[in-house]
Symmetry: C2
């Protein structure tokens, strides 16, 4: 009944052996996100060394129980490459959840893993057939909200603003987090009014999201991946293709209604009158126009929904953003422009993994308990908490760094 040891890989520190425990999945339209917990071999069960989150443990109204210290790890795949996902899970024996030493035994050792997103439905049969496991489906919005709440409350320096190239971390007051608008930009976009833990409503959304950027971008630039498209947009100049106010007004502002000559009047509007074909444009410029069009639109619709419900804070998550400075800047400027400075756009460091983290957390009642039993801990209510000392960010954000955290039994 020993937990598995697997070679570290991907987001883990190279060379460090790790024990892989629990896994949850968020299979979206374009990308599948995995969150899994690895226990470091050297301090597997150590009540003495528990420290950073004693306060949180105590807040649960009990003395501190022994914990498992380890890391939450984040990994993503293109949903279309479902075989890679299956292979990864198989290679790490993640699907066995640390409770089985042998390879899958058909018919007997089958287990289930938490999964959310549409792919939890679409690929249920494939997981059953290829790995012999069933996907335990959690509602997508439930998971997004649970994930966002966990990250915002549990992780130091999770949220930040981004304006004029400057990021600034936001101190989250746990007693003043709600209500907020959560905007999750996946293939499509969901906008969720969050009023508390488990209290929320999906109030709006738009079909113009990350899948639109990627899909249109692929058709227009022949890029091979989302990241390549994003990379191109760094180099581009949208003014080559967008019709600006100044293009219509002969270089002048339309100041009466507050539109400067450089404001975009019509996205891709210059492509109508030129004699240029698609190939005659720099793909970088196309990528830039596309990114700006979509980011601006999401920012605007988000603001209008925040306004509608009197929400001052808008948190943007989802894999579209990827901590891309220009994307964040455009969204921030849009929210700032339309709200006349009233509303604030904020971003999440683990933006792409809200749903997966939420699915992971939904295991509290089931999986994590079993896990701790397996690790010879006392049974009871289990929760995952983050050792805040270890979670500050140095240098660039990349969104998929692992988080040092602990499993507690309270």
């Amino acid at each position: 009944m020993d937990p598995k040891k697997v070679e570290s890989e991907g987001n883990s520190d190279p060379g460090q052996s790790e024990i892989v425990y629990h896994l949850a999945l968020d299979i979206g339209g374009s990308l599948a996100k995995l969150v899994y917990f690895t226990k470091n071999d050297d301090n597997s069960v150590d009540g003495e060394r528990m420290s950073g989150n004693e306060a949180l443990a105590k807040s649960k109204g009990s003395r501190s129980y022994p914990v498992i210290k380890g890391r939450l790890n984040f990994k993503s795949f293109e949903t279309s490459k479902i075989d890679d996902i299956l292979e990864f899970i198989k290679s790490k024996k993640l699907h066995l959840r640390g409770s089985q030493q042998q390879e899958e035994v058909p018919g007997s050792q089958k287990t289930s893993i938490k999964a959310t997103g549409g792919g939890a439905y679409r690929y249920a049969d494939v997981f059953k057939e290829k790995l012999g496991i069933s996907l335990d489906k959690e509602d997508e919005m439930d998971c997004l909200v649970a994930g966002a709440n966990f990250l915002l409350k549990g992780i130091h320096q999770e949220a930040f603003t981004y304006l004029d190239g400057q990021k600034q971390f936001v101190q989250i007051d746990h007693n003043d987090l709600y209500p907020y608008l959560l905007v999750n930009i996946g293939s499509g976009v969901s906008m969720i009014k969050v009023d508390g833990a488990g209290k929320f409503e999906r109030v709006s959304g738009t079909s113009i999201g990350g899948g639109t950027f990627w899909g249109l971008g692929r058709l227009l630039t022949k890029c091979k991946s989302f990241d390549e498209l994003l990379e191109m947009s760094y180099q581009g100049n949208n003014r080559v293709i967008d019709m600006l106010v100044g293009d219509i007004y002969g270089g002048t502002d339309y100041s009466k209604i507050g539109l400067t000559s450089t404001a975009i009047a019509s996205s891709f509007g210059k492509a109508i009158s030129d004699n240029k074909e698609c190939e005659d444009y720099n793909p970088e410029d196309i990528a830039r126009s596309l990114l700006r069009m979509i980011s601006n639109n999401i920012g605007q619709i988000s603001y209008l929904n925040a306004l509608r419900f009197g929400l001052k804070r808008i948190f943007f998550g989802g894999f579209f953003i990827r901590s891309h400075p220009f994307t964040m800047d455009t969204i921030s400027v849009a929210v700032n422009f339309w709200s006349k400075g009233e509303a604030k756009a904020m971003f999440l460091r683990h933006e792409g993994f809200l749903g997966a983290v939420g699915a992971f957390m939904s295991s509290d009642k089931h999986g994590l308990e079993e896990l701790l039993v397996a690790a010879e801990q006392a049974p009871g209510n289990i929760f995952c908490a983050v050792d805040s000392r270890h979670s500050s960010v140095n240098g660039e954000l990349n969104g998929d760094e692992s988080i040092e955290c602990s499993l507690y039994a309270a």
Copy 2:
């Protein structure tokens, strides 16, 4: 000082000679719109025969003066083909406003015409140089609102709803027209809250408009014109390229949040995973996805703005729509969906000419008066009114049919 006679052409009845009077222009980013008044030769000044709008004339608080009966004519050009516009004006001698028989005499007979839209600024020098006339610039929003108000109040069966392929004319109550949201879809989109004659505020807009449809459509399908692109969209199937909720959820609805399996989750989202290049898609399907994406987005943002100001009526104008059934249907469905049936999308028969009509009407104080003087009428306040008996619609709407109307001196 006789008004010009020109051969009838374009929107006029073939073979009927017409006397061309007054002209106004709306030069947008993509299209230039002309409105001009032609007097029928046979009943040029005829107080006896004035009838249909006697009531309106009387409402101005005076006896009925003789009128000029004629038609308002509508014509559009691509803005980039500015030479065609100049040629048309020259051929009709419209720029001489019926007050000059001879060709332009440099330095002496120069006149001005009312113009709005960004092109009134951008092309001012060209008009001066090539036709010797100056453009008398009117504010774009002023003209849009004046045009919409005139058409809504003055023209029988101007506004209609469109749902499930059925158009239904809306009876406009002159005493209960305001407030309403005017959404003008040109190259870009302006959203204007209208509270009365000349009382309005541009409250929002989006850069994803007609120029985006045409520009992106050109790049993706190599279509040669806006109309060709629109035509293609009739034949297309957006489900080939759009990622539907059912595509993500394995064919099922996401009923918990009210999304059916056929709802679009991500516009162009299917283009990410396929191994298909742009050329492998039917241009018709691309055109359809694009039209649906843009129409739906405009409908959504319009609704959110109507909601914000408590407006129940949204009138859509601008040249993007072109009485295109699928466009109107998508906008209507979007407004209906997001407002849960609370708000109503309405369309205008002369949708593309709001700004030009507004510019034409702004001539009341100047041009029309001079016109009537030239036609040996009594000077005074002049207004243009529509003979309602003649303005009902038979068959398909095409938006640019001429309107029978009269010039009144009150």
